[in-house]
Structures are given as C-alpha cells and as structure tokens.
C-alpha cells in the first residue's frame, strides 16, 4: 500500500505534538460504578418494565385506599359477598357483577339492589375489596421492606466482618450465628409473636430476629471466596486499607448475591406473614395484609373466587417485579460484565 500524503487536501489534518503529560489522561467522561450500573440497567427492558410495574403497585397501595369511596374497614353488611364490577369494563363480560347463585348466573348487584360499584367486589362483611387489597398491599410491602432492610443491614455487616477478618473473630461470630440458626426460626418467630402484643411491629421483629443470619452466611461465604483471590491480594500489596478493600473490591463482587438474597427475603417475608395468618398469628383483625386476604380467600375459592384471586394476583405481580428487578440489578452490578 502506497501512502500518498501529498494527495491529502490541505488543512484536513493538524499536526499534533506528542505530549507526555497527556498520555495518562482519561478521555471518556469519568463514570462512577453506580452510574455505569444504572446505564446498564436501563438497557434491560424486563427490569425497567418491572420497575415501572412495581412503582405502579406502590403508587396504588398508597393511593388506592384514598381514592376508594369506602374505607378498608367499614362494613355494609347488606352488600356482603358481591363480585367485582367496574363501569366501563363490565361491557366486556368481565367485572360485570355477575355471580352464580344456586347454579345460575345472575347480576348480584341488581338482585341486591346495589347502586354502587365495587371494583374488586366485597368480602363476607360487605367491606370494599378494592381499598382492602391496596391497604393490604401497603401493609405487606411495609413489613417486607422493613424486615428485608434490617436483615440486610445486620446480615451484611455481620457476615462481612466475620468473613473478612476470619480467624478468632470469625470463630466467635460464627458460634453466635450457629446458635441463632440452630433454633428453628419457626420457634423463635412464634414465641416472639406470642410474647409481644400481636401486630405489625411484632411481626417485623419476629421476622428479623433470626432472619438476618441467612444473609450473613451468604455474605460470609462470598467474602471468604473472594478475599483469597488475586485482585484482593494485589490491592493489599498496594497498601489498600481494610475499609477500601471491603468497600471497593469485595462489595461489588458480593453485591449480586446480596441483592438476590434480598429479592428472596422480601417475598419470604410476605410469605411468612401469610403463613402466620394461616396459623392464626397474623395481623389483628380488622387490619388487612395480602397474607390475611389470601388466607381468608383460599377457603372461598369455589364460592367467591375474587376474594382470593385479586390479592393473589397482586402478590404475584410483586413477586414477578422483584425477580426481574433483581435479575436486572445483578447483571447491572456485576463488575465482570462491563460492556
């Protein structure tokens, strides 16, 4: 290949000086780890969709009880057990207030002379399911987030310290965890709820009292796995402090597992609350949570399917959203997946 520099148009190129000062300069704008993660997360359609979906659920949980003309606990006993009815959608043949009565399909709203529309129907005491479902979602999410946040905080700190420092510290800390995990959490949770006055706070405390040990074990396992790897050794050789190694080198690697674990803690917490309703230790009536609503509803599945179906659907949406967000975050936060 011949290079005819002379044929190049004049002025197309500038001649630059070689500047040793500039050789180390980073030409792209500096992107922090978190900005980078966010950029990658945005590319994941499922995760973004789930984020929006989840935002919508939170929004409805906060707004639903407010926009409903009925409060979650007010009873109109003559309107008990109505199926859902929504004004416009009813023309499509769903949510039209039709239920079966003695084997025949009838518009129960007409039969009972109910003027109002209950969007999600009513329960056995004539309470509006729309406001109850959203109020319940609010309570369930609150319990789950509070429990997961506490679990994560304690678990990560505890597991991180134990795994990183190892030796005697690890030994002692692990003995303590061993005792706590050795008591079946079922026993602890039930005992604590029975001892404290039942309610949201009791459930959160009972859930977290041993719940964090799972997180701490996972974090410790990961820290143990990574701390002996070469990049940590390199960082240490270069004189990085313990704090810097934990925060800058280990954390990003462990984060994926923390997030996935949290993604399981949250549904786990919602579930445990439902389980507590099943054994009669859930929220105190008349308060509702998704767990108590589902527990009330599953007995009526052949008779009043909407009482189970709607809260179960909301619960599933929350689960799907959490899982997809979790996946997205994991991919986004994984430092090995730079692109």
């Amino acid at each position: 290949m011949t290079q005819n520099y002379d044929k190049l148009p004049q002025g197309s190129f500038d001649r630059i000086e070689r500047d040793t000062q500039q050789a180390e300069r980073i030409s792209k704008p500096s992107v922090s780890f978190w900005q980078d993660a966010w950029r990658r997360l945005k590319k994941n359609k499922g995760a973004i969709f789930s984020l929006i979906l989840f935002g919508l659920i939170v929004f409805m949980a906060l707004l639903g009880p407010v926009i409903s003309p009925y409060s979650p606990n007010s009873q109109t006993i003559t309107h008990a057990n109505l199926p859902p009815k929504i004004p416009v959608i009813e023309n499509l043949g769903i949510f039209d207030g039709v239920g079966t009565l003695g084997g025949k399909e009838v518009d129960l709203y007409e039969m009972k002379n109910v003027e109002q529309n209950y969007w999600f129907g009513t329960d056995g005491l004539g309470r509006d399911m729309f406001s109850r479902v959203w109020k319940g979602t609010q309570v369930s999410l609150f319990i789950a987030f509070a429990a997961a946040a506490i679990d994560m905080l304690i678990g990560v700190i505890y597991g991180g310290i134990s795994g990183y420092f190892g030796g005697r510290v690890d030994d002692i800390m692990q003995r303590i965890v061993e005792i706590l995990t050795g008591i079946p959490n079922l026993v602890v949770v039930i005992l604590f709820i029975m001892i404290m006055d039942p309610g949201i706070l009791a459930i959160i405390i009972a859930l977290t009292i041993t719940g964090w040990t799972g997180m701490s074990r996972v974090v410790r396992g990961q820290v143990l796995k990574y701390k002996t790897q070469e990049f940590v050794l390199a960082a240490r050789t270069l004189g990085a402090t313990d704090g810097r190694i934990i925060w800058k080198h280990l954390m990003p690697n462990v984060l994926g597992v923390i997030i996935i674990n949290t993604m399981f803690t949250i549904p786990g917490a919602i579930f445990f609350e439902a389980f507590l309703s099943f054994i009669g230790l859930g929220l105190q009536a008349p308060d509702a949570s998704l767990g108590t609503l589902i527990n009330d509803g599953y007995k009526l599945i052949q008779y009043q399917p909407h009482i189970l179906a709607i809260p179960a659907f909301v619960l599933s949406l929350i689960m799907i959203a959490f899982n997809l967000i979790g996946d997205g975050l994991r991919d986004a936060l994984d430092p090995k997946m730079k692109d």
Partner: protein, 579 residues
C-alpha cells in the same frame, strides 16, 4: 447437547402442568354455588336441636355397618379421670359408660345402674344397684370400680381437672379430698359388688345427668394399678364397657378405630361394626374427603357454612352453647367505664345480632337475648326454661344511644376506648371485626380495639381480669340452668369481671339450697336471677346461641348429638341405603 433437550422437555412439562392447574382453578371456581345474602330467620332449625339425625328415618340397616368419621383434634388422654376436652369425652361416651347414659331423646336413663336409684327423703343419699355387665376383658363391673375411679379423679397425685370441678360441692367430702384430705371421708361407698351408695353435700336435682358424664365412669382398679404409668397410653392399655372398643390408637396418632364391643350389656342394640376416625384439622380437607366418599360426615365451620347452606346433605344442630360479651368492671384495681350500668346497657344493645348470625355465622345459630340457652332444659311438664323470661334484651340502636349518652355523662367522659378480647380463630376474628364496626358506628365516641389471642392466653388474661370486654362462650356441664346461672355469682371462678349483686347471689343460693326440693320455685328463682343479670344489670351482653352445621351422607342414620358430655352417640347409628 442431547441432554439439554431432555431438560427442555422436563421443564416444559413442569411449566405446563402448573399452568394447567392454575387455569383449571379459574374454570372450576365458577361452578360453585352461592347462597343469597340470607336474611331469613332460621326458625326452622330451632326444632332440630337434639333429634336432627334421628328425624331422617331411612329404613333398615342393610349395607356394611362401617362409619367413617373425622375428628378435629388428637386425643389428649383417654383416662376418664384426666380427660377435659371434647374429643376425649366424645370417645369416652362411646367406648365407656357410667351409671346413666343420655338416650336418643337426651334424657339420662339408667345404663350400668339397674333402674333408678333409691333416693333418701332429704335428697342427699343415692343408692344405685348395678346391672350385670362386664369389662371388655370379661371381668365383671363392680361398685368398687366406681368408688375407685371417683376417688382417683379427686386424688391430687393424679391431677385431674374435671374431678374436683365436677365433684366438689356436690359429693360429700370431695373438696377436702381434692386438696389432699383422707379419701375414705368421701361420700362414695361400695356396699357390696353391686351396690353403690353416694352421699351428697346438698340436694342436687340434676344429679342423674351428672352420672352420664365421663368423669363419673368406673375404672377397674386391678387393671389401672397393673398398667401403672402406661394406663390409657394407647388403646391396648384401656378397658372398655361401652357400646364400642377403641382400637388402633397409638396414643399420639391421628387415627383410631372403634369396634363393636361384644361384652357390652346392650350389644344387641348396637348396629355398627366399625367406626374409622381420622383427625383432620383443615375443614377444606375434611370436605374434600367427604366429597371423595372416604368420609361420611364433615363439619362445616366458618366460611364453609355459607357455601353449603343449601346443600341437601346438610344437617344443622342447635347446641346449648352461649356466646356473650363479658364486661370487666375493674381492671388492674381501677374501675373501667364498664362499671357504669348505662354504658353496659348501651353496648349490649348496640349491635345487630340478627345480621351477625345471618351473614357472619350463617350456620343456623340463633341471636341470643338471654343467658340460659333455648332447647336445653325442660320442666317436668316439658316446658322450656326459656319460656319463663323470653328475651331480656335486644338490638335497639336508638335506645342504646340514649343509654350511651346518659352513661357518658355519668362517668364524665365524651370518648371511651375499650379493648375487645377475643379468640384467634378466623371466625372469631371476623365476628369481632363486625362487633367493632357495629359498636363504633352506633355509639359515638366509642373506640374498640381488638385483641385476638389463643384460648389459653385468653384464660390467663381472664383470670388476671386484664381486659375490658371479652367475647366468651360457655357450654353446659350438666343439664340444668344452674350450669349457666352459677357462673356469675360474686367471686365465682368464672365471674372474673367484678360483677356483684347481692340479690342475684341470694337467688342462686336459694336455688342451690332451700329450694332444691321444689323444682317450680327453684326455676323461678333462677329465672329471676337471669333477669337481674341481663335486663337490670346488663352484666353480660348475650350475642348468639351456637349451632353447628355438617354434611352427612344420606345413608348415615341415627347419630345422636348431645347437649353436654360427649357430643355424639353412635350406639344407635346404622348405615342404610349405601351402594
């Protein structure tokens, strides 16, 4: 990558199967039946109190005489001295027998006793003659077996809860013996093998019905002593003298069988050969087993009652069990707002009981405006005790508000917050939520906080009087209005709400003492006491009298339900018309 295809397939099958299950769920649910938001008054089921099943006459026993039943809980103990729960008393009633037994009309009739006992003039001494009957191992049942069993039930070493409860104050010397006194002082003597003499503390008109209760069953001393700690630990370590024998019970399991007892003195009456019982705690499971044909009877509790209300196989039974609000007048040494009679009256009138039984319970329960249940006790002329007083209170929002205003003024408050203590079952939760809403809507300035706790926690709070209002229930221990009226005497072990009314106390005392031999006057006294308690003092607010609903296969005939003691008798039951 051949393996991965297999995984694909596996995964696909799994996904599909789950979706199929989920979709099936949607379709199936539309097929269920719905009952109207019924407001019909259940007057029809008031008359099937005791003889519900008996009324369905269905011909002669023909098919295999096997009955399959479910039970709601395990057997805690089959030792008649230790038993204290409905499961054990129910089985005891069918595998054992006392001097008397409740018959098909729920009247106590001689069983192991040969005819009515001789009663002394003063009504204090009963002389029973025993019939010739044997234990399941062939040894004869003697009067000594009764003496031994009753003394054992009072022995502090045995730690029986029902022994002292049933006998103290009734049988002479029982209180002392239960606290460690000399057992030979007890007013129970076996004069010879077939003669039992019982001396009472005071005349007790309902003593015969007590004799049908499990705690008063005999036990064979030689057998009990021989087995020692193992006595009653499983079905082989027990002796039976009733229509059936318990078999296949390992002491902790969820399953047992009752087989016809060939040694039973009245064995020719017994038609059933085998009764298979399994413990099923979930109502939905019991219903599925019923529908699959594995079980012949399944109870319908809570939510399920409504779903099956119109099913032709439903049987309803009105029980003499009353639920009521207990108003605690003194909590932690301080008077509560409930010490004010107008406040109490206001609350007791401020909730709609008819709606409660129709919509929330929907199982045939009756709204109660009384203490002593209807269809429970009858005079010698067959008149229901209920007919003396009729309704003593009732839902009346307007009147409740008047009482409420007066009450608030008297205690000098405009707002009152009260705690409503209730059970932790689903039904209890739903009912308490309903009561809260009713009370708060009808009584301005009232806030009700609900507190749901397990049964034994409620007992403890009750005992400590640490509650404001309590949703409590009571079922009779013997067939007399006294089992209810006696609860609220000053200082009674069930009062625990600082209710005290001298007039009430003295009426009850009269009914127990000087009027004991004069049935008519005695009833009048108890009725007047009931009126004072509810109409005048509103010490408690009756809510409803419970009914239970069950599905029962049409081929099951003649299971008799009882108002107290064991819940059911299978002695007269049979199978007819089963393919």
């Amino acid at each position: 990558m051949k393996n991965s295809k297999l995984f694909w397939l596996l995964g696909l099958v799994l996904v599909l199967s789950i979706f199929l299950a989920a979709c099936g769920g949607g379709e199936e649910t539309d097929g269920g039946t719905e009952t109207p938001d019924s407001s019909e008054t259940d007057t029809s089921n008031t008359d099937d109190g005791g003889d519900d099943a008996a009324s369905t006459e269905g011909g002669e026993p023909d098919a295999e005489q096997v009955l399959n039943l479910v039970e709601g809980a395990e057997i805690p103990s089959m030792d008649s001295a230790i038993a204290e729960d409905s499961v054990a008393f129910n089985i005891l009633n069918n595998v054992n027998e006392g001097l008397f037994r409740l018959n098909e009309e729920n009247v106590a009739e001689p069983a192991l006793a040969e005819g009515e006992p001789e009663v002394s003039e003063d009504g204090l001494t009963y002389t029973f003659k025993l019939r010739d009957a044997n234990w399941s191992d062939g040894t004869p049942i003697t009067a000594q077996d009764f003496e031994f069993a009753w003394k054992r039930a009072l022995d502090p070493e045995v730690g029986s809860p029902y022994g002292p409860y049933m006998m103290a104050g009734t049988i002479k010397g029982a209180t002392e013996v239960s606290e460690g006194g000399d057992p030979s002082e007890l007013g129970v003597v076996a004069e010879d093998e077939k003669t039992l003499v019982v001396t009472l503390e005071r005349p007790t008109p309902y003593f015969m019905s007590l004799m049908a209760f499990g705690t008063f069953y005999p036990q064979n001393e030689a057998f009990v002593t021989d087995k020692g700690d193992d006595y009653a630990s499983n079905s082989d370590n027990l002796l039976y003298n009733g229509p059936f024998m318990l078999t296949n019970w390992d002491g902790t399991g969820l399953t047992w069988t009752m087989e016809k007892n060939p040694e039973y003195w009245d064995a020719e009456t017994v038609q059933l050969e085998t009764i298979n019982v399994d413990v099923v705690k979930e109502t939905s499971t019991a219903l599925n087993l019923y529908q699959s044909g594995e079980k012949d009877r399944a109870g319908l509790s809570g939510e399920f009652a409504m779903q099956y209300a119109d099913d032709p196989e439903v049987v309803k039974e009105l029980e003499p069990t009353l639920f009521y609000l207990k108003f605690n007048q003194e909590r932690n040494g301080e008077e509560t707002p409930l010490a004010n009679v107008n406040i109490r009256k206001a609350i007791s009138m401020a909730f709609n009981k008819q709606d409660l039984v129709d919509v929330v319970l929907a199982n045939g329960s009756l709204p109660a405006n009384y203490l002593v249940p209807t269809e429970f006790t009858f005079s010698e002329d067959g008149e229901d005790f209920r007919e003396i007083n009729g309704d003593l209170t009732g839902f009346d929002a307007a009147q409740a508000q008047e009482f409420w205003a007066t009450g608030l003024e008297e205690i000098g408050e405009t707002e009152v917050t009260l705690e409503l203590l209730g059970g932790d079952s689903e039904l209890a939760g739903k009912m308490d939520a309903y009561l809260k809403e009713q009370l708060e809507t009808n009584l301005e300035g009232l806030t009700v906080n609900l507190k749901a706790v397990p049964f034994n926690v409620r007992l403890e709070l009750d005992e400590a009087q640490d509650y404001d209002i309590q949703n409590a229930g009571w079922g009779p221990d013997y067939q007399d209005p006294m089992t209810f009226v006696d609860l609220f005497v000053t200082g009674a072990s069930h009062n625990l709400m600082s209710y005290s009314n001298e007039e009430f106390d003295s009426l009850v005392e009269q009914a127990k003492g000087e009027l004991a031999q004069d049935p008519a006057a005695r009833w009048e006294a108890m009725a007047e006491a009931e009126r004072i308690l509810i109409e005048e003092d509103a010490a408690i607010a009756p809510i409803y009298q419970r009914a239970t609903m069950a599905l029962q296969k049409p081929y099951v005939q003649n299971i008799i339900s009882h108002p107290f003691g064991g819940d059911y008798s299978y002695k007269w039951a049979y199978i007819s018309g089963k393919e």
